[in-house]
Amino acid sequence: MDRRARFPGQRWAVFAVILGLAAACVPAAPPSTAKPAGSAASGQTSDPAAAAPEKIVRGGTFVIGMHGDLVNFDVVTQTAALHLSVMSLVQSGLMKWGKSTVVDPTKLACDLCESWTQIDPTTYEFKLRQGVRWHNVPPVNGRELVADDVKYTLERLKTGNFRNDPRFGRNQSKVASIESIETPDKYTLRVKLKAPDAAFLWHMGDPFVLIVAREQVEAESDGILQSGLVGTGPFILKEFTPKVGYTLVRNPDYFQPGLPYLDAVEVRVIMDNTTRANAFRAKEIHDPGMFMDAEKKRIIDRSHPDLFMGEVPGMTTAGIYFNTTRPPFDDARVRRAINLAIDRQGIIDATRFGHAVLTRWLSPSVGIYATPENEVAKLPGYRQPKDQDVATARRLLAEAGYPNGFSTELKVIRSANIPADAEVIAEQLRRNLNVEVKLVVLERAVHAKETQAGNYAMSAEYTLSSAGDPGEALGQIVSTSGANTGQWKNARYDELYAQQQAALDPQERARIIGQMMDLLDEEVPVLITYTDNNYRGYPKGCHGIQQEHRYNVLIRYMSEVWCDEGVLRR
């Protein structure tokens, strides 16, 4: 019998009495259920959700903790991953990313489409599943989904009627290469691109490219999906209370027969990370959501043998942006010197307890396009020991006119681990190069304004590629990008960027991207310290939950999740 079962019903009242009695004799340390290191519980690295099921148990309510509230339900304004906790379960996409912890275009799969064909380098034809029905709720009332719905969604995403919301276009880049869309019949969609686009299909499977119902958009006063959400997905949004939570129930007419296995999914807004982790440990929720970390994983592994927390390299890289318009960072030798003098492994060990990955500009989660970690570990600036790199860095700094170092300022975003990283970096630069770094820690709103205005010498922050395709991350520092706040301009890089974007052969694209990585290590417009791991927790008795490189991008597979008897509320 588990502990909860022994403490049911009016346990809060019982607890109040117990707490009163216990207050007089609080033990020095609470009884620990920790297992010794190396036990089966702590040593488990394989994903129990991937184990082959003997017998699928249907039903139950799976509860997800969410670190914030949805702003609205509309893909035209949102790229924050938490929205997918609801939207990805209610809506479907034309395609979907496959079950993989890295970007893997070979695992792209159809969602609403039945098949696709590339007619020529710029034309794709999709055949849609027949008989797919919208949820049987107003305003769509279970009508059939047709090619016009997909066309409407993609065109709306690109140029649609949402100009009264200033945040329009957050996902616009994912459909930017589309020139025109035709629907020869109810179930056929033909997409013509302006030019060959290596990322097009990947973007069609993007978790934010979700098909919306025209009727629902038109029913909204300002054309933004706000008052509710309908879709063709495995769950129907039954009710929601802003700032509190969302209740999704099984869609009996889902186009994949037999799915979903769960009766319902409850998504609860629990903003505090520690509270979510505690609720997970107490089995109040089954998924602690985003912003779990190595420390929380350690506690789960040590003290909760019935829970699992997986970790895989994520899409988030920590780094330092240089303002290349100002001395001393307008000199590539200075930036290169800083890059060589940093001890990345030291930072990972000090602030991430070793739970992060050495990485160049692209995180390992971009699959074949990333440099493998063992190769990265041999590169100057990334390798151990540091002696040779530090000597080179000192020489470069002297050649640039700073033989005795210099003083500078690092503006640090107050977010997760970045301030701690910055402290270690400042100490390393002082010790290795005699560079005095003044840390200025700023909250997100202030940091965003300062960096956007280019008002910084160095800026420490996270970078994140929301779509997963390498083109997005690489595009952040092309000359014309608004995200290129350091104003680094390099014609060769821009040229290579255009080449890789048009390279339809993945191997050829990887080769070009490799050249871009070398160029970035030479020029160092941004210094990448590491890639953060992504964590996903769930009870070990649940099956089908996907570990993922960016939070929630594979949550659409929740339709295949089921849990053993006794794990969920039924």
Binding site: D2, R3, R4, F7, R11, W12, F15, A16, L19, A22, P30, P31, G68, V71, N72, T79, A80, N164, P166, G169, R170, Q172, D222, Q226, T241, P242, K243, V244, G245, R268, V269, I270, M271, D272, T275, N278, A279, R281, A282, E284, S415, L442, E443, R444, A445, V446, A448, K449, Q452, Y462, T463, L464, S465, S466, E472, A473, Q476, G482, A483, Y551
Partner: protein, 321 residues
């Protein structure tokens, strides 16, 4: 009395106007910019096509490109018509947002004050009546402990110890009081207890000192001399006269609690005003922030008025003209 109350209510208007000016100015001098934040997105948003054109479009649509006095005029005109505007982010009416959060905060604050009074007042009375005895020392020790321990620490322990001992935490699923009072109280009692215990410390101390002062009055000595019972003297004659400073303190504490208890709301996942304000600050949601703070001020003024009126009820010698 009616004229006094009316005068106080009318006085609130210029006071609230002053508060609105100060709040508007303070919110606008906060560093950071909502338009940039919207374009940059949250930590889990990924990179976006940040460009100055979009940022300026956002500023225009939110009237942030207008001079401050024009922005204030637009906002004040809305408020005068009973409309606090809409949230920059969610586009939901601010009155709806506040309307959803306020009853939750009121419930939590009232529960917390009830607990603090139920604990603090009897302890203060017993401590005064049994001055310099073991009971008095125990009561004073409790009050110093309650004062010294921050409410968020007590709240954290209420979550942490049952989690470590029983693998259980207090309910964090919010259910409205009118939907299921039992489920609602299961969640609310724990934060209310933490807040109540903390606030009972000062209430106990002021009750004790006020009681000690009244117990030395001539009329109390006369009551003893007349042979009245202890219970009647203490609870009937002394406490009522000693209650005015206690009531003042309760009013101040209630006002503060109604202003939101951010940390407690975070720990126990209560969607009250505290979390609303916290979100508005971090997201620079100016209209929401302005609306909530002006509401805080109005609540505080109202609670003070109620306390002042209660003085006269407690002590017939007090007359307002």
């Amino acid at each position: 009395m009616q004229a006094y109350v009316l005068r106080r209510v009318l006085l609130m208007v210029p006071l609230l106007f002053g508060v609105s000016v100060v709040v508007f100015a303070m919110v606008r001098v906060l560093p950071g910019d909502v338009a940039t934040l919207m374009v940059a997105g949250g930590q889990d948003s990924g990179a976006s096509g940040v460009n100055e054109e979009t940022i300026q479009a956002i500023r225009r649509s939110l009237y942030l490109d207008q001079p401050l006095h024009v922005q204030y005029g637009i906002w004040l005109w809305q408020v005068a018509r009973g409309d606090l505007g809409t949230s920059y982010w969610t586009k939901r009416p601010i009155l709806d947002e506040i309307g959803r959060a306020l009853p939750i905060t009121i419930e939590l604050a009232v529960l917390a004050v009830l607990i603090s009074v139920l604990v603090g007042v009897p302890l203060g009375v017993v401590s005064a009546v049994r001055q310099d005895t073991g009971l008095d020392y125990a009561g004073r020790l409790f009050s110093i402990g309650a004062l010294s321990l921050p409410d968020f620490w007590i709240g954290t322990m209420l979550v942490l110890f049952p989690l470590l001992w029983f693998g259980w935490i207090p309910s964090i699923k919010y259910t409205p009081l009118l939907v299921d009072p039992g489920a609602n109280l299961q969640q609310m009692l724990f934060p209310a207890f933490a807040l109540g215990v903390h606030n009972s410390g000062p209430i106990m101390r002021i009750t004790r000192s006020s009681m000690l002062e009244v117990l030395r009055q001539d009329y109390v000595r006369t009551a003893w001399a007349k042979g009245l019972g202890e219970a009647r003297i203490v609870w009937g004659h002394t406490l009522k006269n000693a209650a005015i400073p206690v009531l003042s303190l309760i009013g101040v504490r209630l006002g503060r609690l109604l202003g939101g208890t951010v940390v407690m709301e975070q720990i126990f996942v209560i969607p009250g005003l505290g979390l609303l304000v916290l979100g508005a600050i971090t997201e620079r949601d100016y209209p929401l922030l302005q609306g909530v703070i002006v509401l805080f001020a109005a609540i505080f003024l109202l609670v003070n008025l109620i306390v002042d009126v209660l003085y006269a009820w407690l002590d017939p010698r007090i007359r307002y003209t």
